[in-house]
C-alpha cells in the first residue's frame, strides 16, 4: 500500500509518518552529537537525504522509528569515524593544526542520575537511552545499535546494575 505522500525512492515511508516521529528522532540525533544542536540538525538533514534518495531503503521489516533511528546511528558513527581518522592523520604527521572545536551545549539537567548515565560505557548508555527515554523495546534498541538481542540484553542488565550501584553510592555520600 502506498500513501499519498510516500517518498518516491522509499515507497514504504510517508512524509507524514516521518513528521510524526521527527521530535523523537531529533532527540536521538541530539544525543548522538554530544548534545550539539547544529550538528544534530545537520545529521537529521543527512538522514532525510538518505531516505529521499533511497540509499537507506525501508522494507517494513521493523518499525519506521527503529529504522530511522538506525539510519541516524549509522550516519553518526561514520561521521565519528571520519573525524577520528582525521585526528589520527594529524597525530601521525605531527602537524600543528587548528582542529575545529565543537562547542557542546551542556545538558541543563545535571543531577545524579544524569551524571550516572553519562558515566556508563557508550553501549550501555545507548541502550538505557533507547529503552528508558525513547521507549523502544530491547529488541528494537539492539537493532538500532546493530547488536544481537542477546548482547543488547547483556548491556541493558549491566547498565541497570551499574546505575543502581552508582546512585546508591551517591545517595550514601550525601
Amino acid at each position: 500500500m502506498r500513501d499519498s505522500d510516500a517518498l518516491d525512492n522509499n515507497p514504504h515511508i510517508s512524509r507524514s509518518a516521518l513528521e510524526a516521529i521527527h521530535s523523537q528522532v531529533y532527540g536521538w540525533a541530539f544525543s548522538r552529537c554530544d548534545f550539539d544542536h547544529a550538528t544534530a540538525e545537520d545529521l537529521m538533514q543527512q538522514a532525510y537525504v538518505e531516505l529521499l534518495s533511497g540509499n537507506a531503503r525501508f522494507d517494513n521489516k521493523s518499525t519506521l522509528r527503529t529504522f530511522v533511528f538506525s539510519v541516524v546511528q549509522n550516519l553518526a558513527r561514520s561521521r565519528f569515524r571520519r573525524v577520528s581518522s582525521r585526528l589520527r592523520l594529524v597525530k601521525k604527521y605531527h602537524r600543528e593544526s587548528t582542529v575545529e572545536h565543537v562547542e557542546t551545549t551542556e545538558p541543563p539537567a545535571d543531577d545524579g542520575v544524569w551524571r550516572a548515565v553519562r558515566a556508563l560505557p557508550a553501549r550501555q548508555r545507548d541502550i538505557i537511552e533507547l529503552v528508558f527515554c525513547r521507549e523502544l523495546t530491547i529488541e528494537q534498541a539492539s537493532a538500532v545499535m546493530g547488536v544481537t538481542t542477546g548482547t543488547g540484553r547483556v548491556h541493558y542488565d549491566r547498565a541497570k546494575k551499574a546505575l543502581r550501584e552508582r546512585l546508591q553510592d551517591w545517595a550514601e555520600e550525601e
Binding site: 516521518l18 532527540g27 541530539f30 538533514q45 537525504v49 534518495s53 539537567a109 542520575v113 544524569w114 527515554c133
Partner: protein, 117 residues
Amino acid sequence: MQNSDKGLRDQVRQGWVSNGDAEPSFETTWQAAQQRHAAGRQHYRRFAGAAAVVAAVVIAMYAQPPAGETYIEVADLLESTYWTAPSDALLPDRQFDIYQDMPVIFESTKPAGGALL
C-alpha cells in the same frame, strides 16, 4: 524487580536532557534535506554528463574503423628515394673505372724481407 526497574526508568527520564527550544521544526529540516537531495542529484547529473562526453571523445579517437587498405605505388616509392653504389660513397674521388680501366698490376720477383714486393 519490575517496580525497581520502573523507578530507575522514571529517574532517568526525569534527569534526561530534553531536546530544548532549539529543536528545528520538521518543515525546516525537511525542506533543507530536499534542497540537499536536489543539489546532490544535480551534481551527479553534471558529473555523469561530463563523464559521458569524455567517454564519447575517447571512443571516437581510438575506436574509429580503418578507412580502407592502401597500397604503396612503386613509382612513388622510387621517386622518394635514390640508390647509390657503396663504392661511390666510399671512394668519392675514384681514379679509375674498375671495369674499364684496369690498373697496372705491379709484378715483382724481388723478395724483400722474405716476401715478394
